[in-house]
Amino acid sequence: MKLHEYQAKEIFLKSGLPVPNGQLVTTAEQATRAAQIIKGAPWVIKAQVHAGGRGKAGGVKLAHYPYEVVTETEALLGNPLVTKQTGPEGVIVNQVLIEEGIEIDREYYLSMVIDRSTANPTMIFSTAGGMDIEEVAAKTPEVIFKEHVDPVAGWMPHHARNLLYCSEPPPDQTTIAGLMAVMSNVYKLFMTLDCSLIEINPLVTTREGRAVALDAKVIIDSNAFFRQKELLELDDPREKDPLELMAEKYQLNYIRLDGNVGCMVNGAGLAMATMDVIKMAGAAPANFLDVGGGASEAMIEKGVEIILKDKRVKAILINIFGGILRCDILAKGLVAAAKKKGIGVPLIVRLEGTNVAEGREILEEAQLKFLVAKDMAEAAKLVAKQVSGAG
């Protein structure tokens, strides 16, 4: 789960991680007041959306006069922001963060992630702050430094020293102390909040040796919500696709994509592979949907409903290899969905595995109109044919 920048910064502040003074506003009036309270000029006006690439898309503005704070805020609020990570329709900006401008001496990049191969929390630090780190990694990997943290002892001062003394000349002692505190706090937060990512880009230092997190990106491991209940409240459903939000409610793994073939599959790997064969057959999946092993009849029904709510969907492919999920359950759910609202688009079904005979029988008895595919390749071909005819 992604946090908004302002949420992450509130957490930073509480944990002693220095951030600029700032205020979240949702109206022009609040922006006027914020410009009075917060030290400026300049001020920084930042759209609070989850989509990345906000800066280049005009979601971050600099204001030199109080009136500019207000006009820039007004220009953002309620309007869509189109970034490289949103669709062409963009995302609506509901909240804006107004911050004091900080006089920057040096800029760094700092993040903490899990390194899969070492199975360790790993801090990534770079002297190329404020830039797209993937680009830096591709072009100048020699200015990116990593420290793996052994959970036995956690973050230790020598980790910080290895990162901070990597540049010549190293920062002065005051700055080093400030950056060391930031690093140790980032690790602590990462561990206590079950983060998958903490990213500060840029982390800046001032001429007086103060370290400040100008940006803040935090992602929480959703598997850990059973012990991070307060963090769940920071979830902002407005940032989500309404269909994905609905799927979440029914514990369905649904991701909306750009195509027009709705799919329903059991198992994440098989669902991905199904998307791939659809593409290979010349069509495009409208979604990823893994109903999982423990799916009930009701969940299947809801799944069909969600797929059909996407008006782009021109055909549905159902691909089930019954293991834990039995084919008869799938069939019952499908029939229930059809009875309730009708399906209205061609339906291609490929069933295999546990209780496959019972499943087919249920579908046939219900006199549901559907095409049977004997394997995945055939299913994909059939569905591609349907949508090419329809499209």
Binding site: N120, A268, A273, D276, P285, A377
Partner: protein, 291 residues
Amino acid sequence: MSILVDKNSRIVVQGVTGREGSFHTKQMLEYGTMVAAGVTPGKGGREVEGVPVFNTVKQAVEKQEVNVSCIFVPPPFAADAIMDAASAGIKVIVCITEGIPVLDMVKVARFISDKDVVLIGPNCPGIISPGKTKIGIMPGDIHRQGNIAVISRSGTLTYEVVDQLTRAGLGQSTCIGIGGDPIIGTTFIDHLKRFKEDSETEGVVLIGEIGGTAEEEAAEYIQKEFPKPVVAFIAGQTAPPGRRMGHAGAIISGGQGKAEDKIAALQKAGIAVALNLATIGETMLKIKGKN
């Protein structure tokens, strides 16, 4: 021969009294697996499907000499269950549980790092050596005993492939689901090393997916040191970056984990990559013939 487990493996099911635990205990017993004990704290003394239940893994080891564990414990308690098994002297731990927090797995990985323990999973279907033993949740009846090994990050996708292999007349030596999480107990390479030494295995199907660099590392290892034919498949060629495709580990992030990079790495290493899932069986038949 099979790797890690065989006919003589004595299984303890952790979380045996739960819904999934008891269901699959029955399934395993039906397959012929020697489920010799179950563990659910506080429910020691009962029986599930005729299997005696103990309060601790330690007691199950002492009384029933179990040496392989199969874990169905819910996510909040699964890390403890793995460490419990490892401390009690279990040598092969199969963790089915999906949804364990990744920081719990950081600790688990370090906890077992210096122990003589093999952890399969978590978030995996388990391990099966057809005709000998099945430890996990895979449908047993699609498997046939034979000479092809399967190593996979996915569950149902594996069943799909195994079914295809069986229909193509290619039986399996051992099939392992290594799990769909970012941190898992064993990698492709760990098992490739074992299959290298396994006289029963004549070829390997490697089923990867987007996320991480495990497939790239496996490619490098295979090119350098693995002499048997390998067919690979990578799921998620059409997955968009930044979105978690069901599995916690199946996500393209920070420019890493793309299917195209994995396929390129495998092909560069001279490995046969089936771009279409439906062709894995025939691809294996073809390259096996050549060998």
